[in-house]
């Protein structure tokens, strides 16, 4: 039995008012002590400052990675062709486009005012009618630009690399 526990009831002194008051006080104090102990035992532990900081930083990092364009957190599939191949492709497209313009000229007797008159334009190729018989084609990609005027030879448009590739492409 410990000191904090109430003393056993002394039946002989029950008639004594002082003794009765002491017992009631003792019981009430004991009850209060137990309530304090129970509170401590079941109290939810409050987060320490360190825990709050760590949670805050982690939350902030998570928010930033999801909302801002962080380098390295985007899929990266680079354009696989070297610049020389890209230029050859551009020249092939311009060559085919020039032939579409020529086919239109042969069938209608005039140059098209807009490239769309010849059909679906080749991607990356733009057209400019210079006069009734001459036009220019411009080819543009992110890394390469070409310009050709119809008074120049079509071989110059294709270039050596483009001609070689086009020959290799045709089954």
């Amino acid at each position: 039995m410990t000191e904090s526990e109430p003393k056993p009831l002394d039946r002989k002194s029950l008639s004594d008012d002082k003794e009765g008051t002491r017992v009631i006080d003792e019981v009430l104090r004991d009850q209060a002590r137990r309530e304090v102990l129970r509170d401590i035992a079941y109290r939810r532990p409050s987060a320490s400052l360190r825990t709050r900081v760590v949670a805050g930083v982690l939350g902030l990092v998570a928010l930033v990675t999801w909302t801002l364009p962080v380098p390295g957190l985007r899929p990266d599939i680079p354009f696989p062709l070297p610049p020389a191949d890209e230029e050859a492709a551009l020249r092939i497209a311009a060559y085919i486009q020039a032939q579409q313009v020529e086919a239109f000229r042969l069938s209608s007797g005039r140059l098209p005012d807009q490239l769309r008159e010849t059909g679906e334009p080749m991607p990356g190729i733009s057209y400019q009618k210079l006069d009734a018989r001459t036009y220019s084609l411009n080819g543009t990609t992110e890394r390469t630009t070409i310009r050709w005027i119809s008074s120049d030879s079509s071989a110059a448009l294709l270039g050596k690399n483009g001609a070689q590739r086009l020959r290799g492409m045709i089954p």
Binding site: Y42, G59, A62, I77, P80, A89, Q99, P123, I170
Partner: protein
């Protein structure tokens, strides 16, 4: 027995760490999906190539030009049911070009036919270009064109 918690992680910490790990893994998942889409586009080109070859074998002529995303009417019988040229992330475009002056060293008029994969998605375009070998195609920007034949 004390009910105090010692060590461990709070729910906020766990959610944040899982979220960060998921964000780090996401680009790899996205890249794999894009490359899978590119492979599907290449498969579509092969389907069209086979259908066009069947059509040519029967008719001794190639199907006519069709707008991007539209199946050429002549190919409908040779393509699988419900085959679409408009796949959302990319569109197929049947190309039939007339070359009245032929090639620089051979001016015999020619017809070139091919299939173009057009996509506004730069990554998908690059993934397609990365998949194909070094002949029979050219790639411009996000678009890759596969030549099927040149008569």
């Amino acid at each position: 027995m004390s009910a105090h918690r010692r060590g461990g992680f709070t729910l906020v910490e766990v959610v944040a760490v899982v979220s960060i790990l998921a964000r780090i893994a996401l680009p790899n998942v996205q890249e794999a999906l894009i490359r899978a889409r590119a492979a599907a586009a290449m498969g579509d080109v092969e389907v069209v190539r086979t259908a066009a070859a069947n059509y040519y074998a029967r008719n001794n002529a190639w199907p006519g030009e069709a707008p991007p995303g539209v199946v050429p009417a002549e190919l409908l019988d040779d393509l699988p049911d419900e085959f679409s040229f408009d796949r959302g992330e990319y569109r197929l475009d049947w190309e039939r070009w007339t070359l009245p002056n032929g090639l620089p060293e051979d001016t015999t008029p020619r017809i070139l036919v091919g299939v173009l994969i057009a996509t506004p998605d730069e990554m998908l375009g690059n993934a397609v270009a990365a998949l194909i070998d070094n002949s029979g195609w050219y790639s411009l920007g996000h678009n890759s064109t596969f030549l099927i034949d040149g008569l």
